[in-house]
């Protein structure tokens, strides 16, 4: 729902990084989005194309990787990938779990010229 505000910040961070690395053009931006964040990758790219016009990152392709929800079971000590809503260990059915991944929201890397 709040993808525009977020997209503006992606542009800001990537422009800063591009300047820092003296890049002429940013070709690709790799972003990790955890499933728990509820953000829609398609919407981010759509806003990005409009909001990045005239900036250093104009025309860059966003490579948005959805990070699945990953849990660690304190009972059987196994790590599993589960669907949202199923907060139970799929191996032992235990419910004493710790969330390891799925709420990421970061820019991981950029491909530049």
């Amino acid at each position: 729902m709040h993808e525009l505000a977020i997209t503006e910040n992606i542009i800001k961070i990537c422009s800063e990084e591009a300047a820092k690395n003296k890049a002429l053009k940013v070709k690709k931006i790799k972003i990790l989005v955890g499933e728990l964040t509820g953000l829609i990758p398609e919407t981010i790219q759509y806003y990005f194309d409009i909001a990045s016009e005239g900036t250093k990152v104009e025309g860059a392709m966003l490579n948005i990787i959805k990070v699945p929800l990953k849990i660690f079971c304190n009972g059987c000590k196994n790590t599993s990938v589960v669907k949202i809503g199923a907060f139970t260990c799929p191996i032992c059915n235990g419910s004493d779990i710790k969330i390891l991944g799925g709420n990421e929201f970061l820019i991981e890397s950029m491909e530049v010229d």
Binding site: G38, G85, N103, L106, V112
Partner: protein
Amino acid sequence: MDIKVVRQILEWNEDCHKELQKELNEKKVLMVNVMGSPGAGKTTFITNVINNLKSEFKIGVIEGDIAGKIDAEKIAAMGIPVVQLNTEGACHIEAMSIKNILPEFDLDNLDIIFIENIGNLVCPAEFDIGEDIKIVILSIPEGDDKVEKYPLMFMKSSALVLSKYDIKDYFKFDENRVKNNALKLNKDIKIFPVNSASGYGVEEFIKWFRNYIKR
């Protein structure tokens, strides 16, 4: 050429959140972020808690709404300093908005600030706004499946208030389903069944809440 970036996209919000926390700590003001769906009973709950604490503590309120000032007027009618924050369409409050609004309050003369966030179970959970604790209000009519559907909100909250608790039986609300799922996501979450209209359960909540007050 590939360059490593690894920067949190919400870093601007995170920095501002920490700055606010520091300032409020110095002033010994407890800030509470109250979240929940539209109609969950956030305002009624806050009002009830204020009525229970206002003789002992100095309290202020930030009322977040997309538009209008209905809730702010209710709080102002109680003689409590209140600032209306209209997000004009935005689905959540950000730390920067709180930073801009804070000068409206006399922090040397306040013990507690309640922020009533925008009615929404999704977006507000993603933004820390300078608060010490987050409280989520889930009302019985919303259904007992909400923890599974909106996990982040319940992961991040210190307390879950089950509001409109008196009508639980009419809605065949499975309280254990909510409790079990909430505790799975967040083993430290405290759960309080409350009926704000009659005051049922509020005392129990306040007993817990007092631990966070800084003076």
